[in-house]
């Protein structure tokens, strides 16, 4: 059974149709890279999957249970979903008034109501996993972009999500910091975690993803294995998109 099933997902902002009927099935352990030009709806699609944006039409089914019905989402239901579908943002969105370990503990303390000691132990474990055990007491303002993003990943992992959504996790980083974040994501992939990743790092997508989705005009224009989509794209627009990405190297 699919872990996540999306049917007819439609989202419009004002008069613009950003997503026009997306159908998508995500199997456990799948790693899906979502590509597309800016404005193609990649981020919106991701944000609809954990209801950071509310879909206008369509259903999202998580582990066999329909979320919704559409248009009538209860906050308590959505907070449950968001704990199960973790998200990492382009701009990190760390809480600047908390230390690194405070950021990672926050969900465990406030949402899961864990004791301080319990949350701290877990948070330290997650920080160690992303290689930042020594930065536990550091405030985000004193971390590099790459370190911030790794803290953000640890914060998401602490909630034990069944699926992770990465929304252009390296796009805000200086080039020399991209590698450390990609390495962490790759290690999560190696653990067999289910993830959806919006990215412009085509080489990374090729090596890590099990499936590539190319979005254009709010629809899935082409999808398939990395070899199919990245090396032998069938659609003209996919080819044009790939050609425009100069750093396209396997």
């Amino acid at each position: 059974m699919s872990l996540l099933q999306v049917r007819g997902l439609t989202k419009r902002f004002g008069k613009t149709d950003v997503l026009r009927g997306i159908d998508l099935d995500v199997q456990p352990g799948e790693r899906i890279a979502i590509l597309g030009a800016s404005g193609s709806g990649k981020s919106t699609l991701l944000r609809c999957l954990n209801f950071m944006e509310m879909p206008d039409v369509g259903t999202v089914t998580l582990d066999g249970k329909v979320i919704g019905p559409s248009g009538k989402y209860r906050e308590s239901e959505l907070t449950q979903v968001r704990q199960r579908v973790g998200m990492v943002f382009q701009q990190f969105n760390l809480f600047p008034h908390m230390t690194a370990v405070g950021n990672v503990m926050e969900g465990l303390r406030t949402v899961r109501r864990q004791s301080k000691a319990e949350a701290r132990t877990r948070a330290e474990k997650e920080l160690a996993r992303v290689g930042l055990a020594d930065k536990a007491e550091t405030y985000p303002a004193h971390l590099s972009g790459g370190q911030k993003q790794r803290v953000a990943i640890a914060r998401a992992l602490a909630m034990d999500p069944e699926m992770l959504l990465f929304d252009e996790p390296t796009s805000a980083l200086d080039p020399e910091l991209v590698g450390e974040v990609l390495n962490v994501i790759r290690s999560l992939a190696d653990e067999g975690r289910t993830m959806l990743l919006v990215t412009h790092e085509l080489g990374f997508a090729y090596h890590v993803a099990t499936r590539i989705i190319f979005l254009a005009d709010g629809t899935i224009h082409e999808q398939g294995t990395p070899d199919e989509v990245l090396k032998n794209p069938r659609q003209e627009r996919t080819r044009a998109f790939l050609a425009s990405h100069k750093q396209f190297s396997f």
Partner: protein, 226 residues
């Protein structure tokens, strides 16, 4: 003939001024405390998606921000007994008026502070499963309040000066006592000069303390740096 300044009558009445100062601080302090609580409540109501919360809060805020505080005070003190049969002592009338009035202003400060926090902070909070109230309490407000301190300080100073209006309903605040002394001693210039000095010292000291606090919070929180 040059004016002969003589402060001895003022000094002789120092205990009266001290009592007045205590009363002024009492009204300012209580109104400030209630105003902050009311202001936060008004702001949260005004930012609520529910119209039955949003609209009344907006109405109260606008009315109290756009009408003269003296009129508000007269209304509470003189009109409320006539309309609603509620009789208030001058002290209570002052507290009610200035709490709501400063609450209206504080609400706008809170609202501006809350709205100044980047949308990404809400995203970050919701992404780990927080609901609206948890995100507001744990993530948004702690950051917003630090940014609001200068505006709060400004409003608090305004409030302390506005409380001089209570003299008009015969509450013995600093200005009221000054009036009494000046009429008794025929030394209005000296009396009011001293009173101005007292206001200056109190407000100046408070603002120094607030600036200190602001600096301390900035160091521990690093919140405005991105």
């Amino acid at each position: 003939m040059a004016y002969q300044w003589d402060f001895t009558p003022v000094v002789a009445n120092a205990p009266l001024l001290a009592q007045g100062l205590v009363n002024t601080l009492k009204i300012t302090g209580v109104s400030l405390g209630c105003g902050l609580v009311l202001g936060l409540a008004f702001a949260l109501m005004r930012l609520s998606p529910r119209p039955w919360l949003r609209l009344p809060a907006g109405f109260v805020i606008e009315v109290f921000r756009t009408t003269p505080p003296l009129v508000q005070l007269f209304w509470v003190f003189f009109a409320l007994p006539l309309i609603a049969g509620i009789e208030l002592t001058p002290f209570m009338a002052a507290i009610v008026t200035f709490s709501i009035q400063s609450g209206a202003f504080f609400a706008e400060v809170f609202r501006a502070g809350i709205q100044s926090i980047e949308r990404g902070q809400w995203d970050g909070a919701r992404a780990i499963g927080m609901n609206h109230a948890q995100a507001m309490q744990r993530i948004i407000l702690p950051q917003a309040i630090k940014r609001m301190i200068p505006a709060f300080l400004e409003r608090s100073i305004e409030l302390m000066k506005t409380t001089t209006l209570v003299a008009t309903i015969a509450y013995a605040d600093l200005l009221f006592e000054a009036n009494e002394i000046s009429q008794k001693t025929f030394r209005p210039l000296e009396t009011f000069t001293v009173v101005a000095l007292i206001y200056f010292v109190v407000i100046f000291v408070v603002s120094l303390l607030a600036r200190q606090l602001e600096r301390r919070l900035a160091v521990s929180g690093e919140n405005t740096v991105h």
